[in-house]
Every structure is written in structure tokens, then in C-alpha cells.
Amino acid sequence: MRSPRWLGSCGWATLLTLCACSGGDGDGGAAPVTTALDETWLGELRADPSRFTAWVASDREGFVLLQQHRLEEAATRDSVAGLRARRELSALYAQLTRLQDLAYDGVIAESSARNAPPSPAFLYFSVLAIQDRKERERAAADERPAEGEPLTAAFMEATEPVRQRYAAHRAARDARDVGALWGLAATPLWTEPLPNGERRLYDPFFYRTVALSLAVDAPAEGPEALVFSGCLTAADAQAEAKASMDTPELGCALAALARLGIAPPPEVDDPQSASDLVVSLDAALDPWTRATLAAGDPAIAELFGDLRLVERTRARWLLALARADLHHDRPRRALTFARLAVDLSTPREVSPVNHPALFGTMAEAQARTGYHREALDALAPVSLHRPDLIGLTELLGDWAILVGLDRHGESKEN
């Protein structure tokens, strides 16, 4: 394997081990090669691959981590790469927070519908989660809590461990430093014995704290803000820096579609419209990628073959469209966009193409359309490697169990 010059001695072996080589077989069609990407950072690299080394020179290690989506490690870096990782991690945990809120609501609703009353401890934790959400909503709206509101009263009666934990969260949010809370998230905050085990309830505040603590503005200028992102140009990135964290990189994705001559998706929850858009997108991108690789330049091959820059950028656009669909209550199409973004050479792994938020997005879309058990499966590539997600997966598991509580389970061979 060639030594990628842009990385120098910093982490290249690890990086290239993780990078799958693209086969580039494509569909063999003779679609015209677009020039729409020529005036973008991808086009600049195709024209002069040596620029890459300069673009990532400020923190090569940080960019390696960012490229591999090792976001927690990248987030510790004092660099543009670190800043970008913190923003991405914040958006990921904001999504996990939404999923947790959804699951608490879902468990309570399903328990009531199925005559399966939740335990007092669970009810108490769900009240805490709802209260925390309301407090954040009030803070965002600059409102004061109403005196004597039942949820507030319940919150004030918190048991001491919970009270202490919440105080730690408030401090973390004020200081914008998650600190020791990372290590506590995988340990139950509450346990009680059951005949054959124990009920374990986990910190209901954690994901929100991470989302709030790591929220930062995106860097708007320079190639360091562009490389590995879904923003094709500096102008796109500047617009994106001011955009909502609820729909990360949506503006850049729509700008990219426009550049490629592809109409934005209609505002309907129609999965087929996502499939059709992706067919058009691939028809535009594949010839450009093939033509780029056909040049035979080893440096270009490293960037566009080994690092799969185009596939990675494509995945980011689709992720942005999926997140926007979730934000606008179009979960079925969100699922389709996210599903079509996943690189199936490593279908159950976070990888340079598979952003962890892809799996979170699929999980949220599944949970919102009745596919609760499937949501757990979608989240597994992330949750099985992140101990702090145990609280969320236990909660989603409870929801999935309740939904199927009265069904006759089916099993077959093969």
C-alpha cells in the first residue's frame, strides 16, 4: 500500500487499514461527466492533490480521527478538526436526546394502552426526563417555570443521588464540560431487585448534557472547514455555520444538489422520492468519480480511491437530507435517505463513510414509524461500542417489548 503523503508519519497505517478500496465497477453506462464539482474542494483536489497535505497540516492527527469518525477522540483536539468534531458530536447527542425523549413518551403511552403499568421508579425517571426537556425548552424560550407545576414539584422531590447527579449536569452544562459524567453514564443511577435480576435505570440527563456542552459554532472559513465535510465551497460553509443545529449541513446538501442539477426533494413523506433522488445523484457522481480515478495519478487514487472522498461526501448529503426529513416529520423518507447512505461494505460499523449519526437517524426514523425493535438493530453499530448508550438501548428495548407484549411470537427455520 502506498504511503499517503498528506499524512506524513501521523497515523497513516491505521487510516489506510480502515479505508476500503473501491472497485469502481459502476453501471458501465456512458453518462456525461459533470463539471459541476470542478469548482469545489473535491475539484480542487482532483486538479492538485498536493493541496490536501496543506489543508490538514494544522492538525493531521485530528483530521485522521475526523476522517474515521472517531469523534470523541477528535473532539479533544485544540484545532479546527477538534471544533468540527465537537459540533458533530453535539448534533449526534442531540439526536440521541430526541430518541430518549421519544422512547420515554412511547413507553408511558404503550404501558397505559396495554394495561402494563410502569414501575414507580420508571415513572419517576420518565418524569425527570420530561422535566429536564421542559426546562431546556423554557430556557430556549427564555421563560420561567410556573410555580407549583406538578412536574417541577416532582423534580424537587428527587432522591439525593438523583439530585446530586442533576447538580453535576447543571455544572457541566454551565461549564460546557461533560467531564466525569462520561464515566458515570454506563452505571445505573437506580437499581431495585426483581425475582430474576434487577431493574436498572440510567441517568436521564446525560445525552442532553453532552449535546449542550459540546455545541459550538462551525468554523466558516478556509479549506480546513471544508475538507471531509458535506459543504463543497467556502460560501456554502459560511452559510452553514449560521444554520440550525437541528438540520446540520442541510444547506450544503441542497447547494450541492443544485450544483449537480438535481431538484430538491419534495416536501412529502414519500420514500420513493428519496430513492429517485439518489438514482439521479449517483448518475451525476459516478462518472465524475470514474473519470477522476481513470487519470491514473497515484495521489488522486489515494484521495478518491482509498479515502473515498466522493462516497463520503455523498453520504453526508444524504444524512443531511435524512435529518431534515426527521426535523420536518417525514420519518419514512428520512429512513430511506439514511439507508441509502450506508456503505454496505461495512454495514454495521462506523467507518469513514458511515457517520455514527447515520445509525442514529435510522433508529429515530424506525422508532417514529412503529419499528421499535428494528430501531434497536439500527442503533447497534453505535450502541454496542459506546457504553454510555446503555440507558437509551434499555429504554428502547422496553418500548419494543411493550409493543409486542400481546403478540404471538413467530419463528421459522432459515
Binding site: S119, L194, Q272, L344, D377, A400, D406, G409
Partner: protein, 504 residues
Amino acid sequence: MSSARVMTPLLLAALAAPALAGSLRYAEDSAPAIVNPLYSTTMAEARVNELLFGGLYADDRDLRATPLIAESATLNATADELRITVRPGLTWHDGKPLTARDVAFTVETLQDPKTLSTEAGRVDWVQSVSVVNDRELVLKLKRPDPQAIDKLFFKILPAHAFASRPVTRADPFRTKPVGSGPYRLARFGDDNSITFAANPSYPKPLGVSEIVMREVSDKSYQAKLLLYESLEALVRVLPRDLAVLQKSRKVELYPYQTNSWWYIGFNLNAAPFDDERVRQALACMTDVPSLLAPIGTGQTLSGPFVRSSPYYNHDVPPWPHDEGRAAELMKSAGFTKVGEYWSRDGQALTVTVSAHKTLESAQEVVINLQSQWRAAGVKVDVEFLDEAAWKARIWKQHDYDVVLAQWSFDRNEDVREQLHSTGARNFGSYKNAEVDALLDSARASRDPAARKADLRKVHALVHEDAPMIFLWSLDSYSAVSTKVRDVVVHPFAYFSFVSDWKMQ
């Protein structure tokens, strides 16, 4: 129902014939052995049943129970009586009216012990059934159940279409099925294909006029046939073909049948597999990651659930590949190494591994397993059984040592039938009173945390007892041509929403 393991140019050419307009061709590893929901035991059969038959209730697109054959189902105040009204104007594929009597016939037939239905558990909550008139019937429940409507998913069968009572597996219905589903059986082909034609009486118009099930037993050809546009759908893609199909841009891939796991199952009625030390020793002789690597990507398992399951016990690691530990276990079970092989009472330990002929990639796994166990001192014979032999030898006669097989579950992941001593799918005769009690407790519990605790303990106990060596769950996807639009794949039954699919 044999099939060509090696695909001949002739067969390739035949399959390459263009589909009829509006025709969707999908591949199965093995054609269903029987088309009768009373006796279906395989996923291929379940998929065909979904095309041909309907239930009183079915999943809607959000997987909520919604009336299908039923117009309504109403519980009485004490929740022990369910009054069902059948939708008016429904007919069977042969034009005869579908009535409440058909529903009653189905329940009674499932319950009749002489039927020997593998699906009897679906109506074990019903005490009795009485027909009020052609459109109404009443189910008396064994005990109050406010959520009984959630159990009305079993397929309804036409009373007039069965030749005799009690119904038997050999009833001619198996080859001349009559249903009420979106498709009717048009013909069986000489190549084991089955053609289904759109049911003109179905309440909604269908966007696919014909569905053809092709048996393609050599899985490595299935992806090629899809790429050559000789198929429009592959039910399950080999993990190693996923990236290739994705790059083709001609197909979309959908996660499907993700609650499936492979296992090596022991016949606990056959010595020495009745000794858990021998089973554990064989588990320690098995290098599971090395068995998995040649067939694709997936996750190794330590118990009867996939890793994303709420019931999976993450505190239980898989058996280690540890020949030293295996040797200790074999010695404690009375075996000694004589020459190359472990022997007891002068007999070398000999194991016959049986696998279903069409279990995807089973041949590679069995050959590698044979090699591993032989290297560890066990003589291994292998056999590949066709569907009929599998059902007879494994399910009915329990005439085997060890099977390599796969179970697939819907989202409830109910392993009771496999692991309870009375389970209909427990053909290995596993019996552990504590596991039985935990499975009963889990089924009765309405507290998710308690159910998780019960089943995680089951996981730990079953792992230790080792009636099976739990192997892996594969990365499991279905592939459908982009020519088919508005595709939604049901996570278990596959074709539940086929009435929405359209051919471009």
C-alpha cells in the same frame, strides 16, 4: 423438489428470459416444501403464505394491528369473549365466499391435536369457538385478555378446500392451495418455480401482476442473476455480495430478517450428547470466528438472541476456542485420547453433522467445522439433507447427532418453542426445569424489565447447558431491483405490503 446446484448455461439462459410486463421474479434458496400455513416451518413457506393467505388482522405500514379479513373484533366487558365480524363480500381465490365458518374451521383445525399443526400455539388462548352467522363468530377465551386482538394474525383457511377431517399434512391442499390473499397460486413449474397471479378480487388494485418464485439453490448465483436482470428480488443477500450489489446502482438493499441466528444443535437423546461436558467440549473445540469469516460478516453470539436484542445477556461471553479446556471436559466425561481421537469404552467419538441442503453457505461451514473437530480429536461425518429428509429425520424422528441450522424470529424473539421442554420446535429434546420456569415467567410478565431479567437468565443458563453452540447472526439484507417501486419490506414476513409495490 430437487434443484440444480450447479447452474447450467441452459438454466442461466432460461432465467435470463425477460419477465412478463409487471412480473416480479424473486429467488429462494429452496422452494417451499408445502404450501399450507398449518405446517409451515421455514421462512420460504412463510413468505409464500403471505402472498396467498390473509389473517383476521395484519400489520399496517407502522406495524400496528389493523383489520384485514375481520371488519371488527370486540371484547366483552370481562375481556373473556371476543366477537368477530368478518368483512362483507370477501371471496376465496376459487370464488366461494369467505365466511365466519372458515374462521371457526381454522381455529378448530389448529387446535385439533390430530392435525399435528406446528402452529397450534397461535390459538392456544382460545377455549371455544361458536359461529353466530355467516359474518359473525364468538371466541371464548381461556382467561381474560384485554389485548386478544393482537393475537388474530393467524392465516385463515377455507373449510371447503380440504379433502378430509382431521386435516393432515398430506392433504392435497398442499399443492392446490386456496387463499384470500393478494395473489393466487397459478402454477408450479418443472424447475420448482411457483407462479402467483394477482387476485382480481383483492380489495385494492395490485401494482405487480405476477410474482414468480425461482428456486436458485446456489446462492452465489443469485446476486449475478439480479445484476443480469433475470430476477427482480433476492430475499437474502450473502454478506459478501452486499457491496457489489450496492455499487451496481440497479438495486436497493433493505435490512431484512435481522433476528436470525445460526447454531450447532445437539440431539440430547443421543449419547454422548446427553452429557453437557461433551457438548461444552465441542463448543471449546469450535473456532467460531474462523467458521464465520469465509461466508461473510456478522456477529458471534453466546446465547439464543442477536446482540441488538433487549434479551441478549452481554455478561455472557461466547465459549472460548480453547482445546485445553476441551480436553479437560472430555476427560471428565470419561473420554481418553487414543491415537488421534477421543474414545470411550473403546469407541472413538464420531459425530454426524447434518445440515439442510439449501441453508446458505452451510457447505463451507460444515466442511470447516469437520476440519476443526477432526483436528481436535473427533471423527466427523457430514450429510446434507433435502427438505423432505430434514423434516422427517430431524423434526419427526429425531434421528441425528448434530445439526447446523438457523432460526429466524419476528420482533418478539420468543424462544420458548425452541427451549421449553414442551416447545414445538425443541427437536433436540432440551429440558431444564429452571429454564422452563423462566420462559413461563417471561411470557406471563407485563413488566419489560422483569421479562428482560428472565430471558437474560435463560440466555446464561442455556449457554452453560449448551444444547446448542450459538454461532452468529449474519448481516442480513434483501435486494430489490430499482424497477420495483414503493417497496416496503416487512421485517419478518417480507411480502406483507406487496399490495403497495409497483413495477416500473
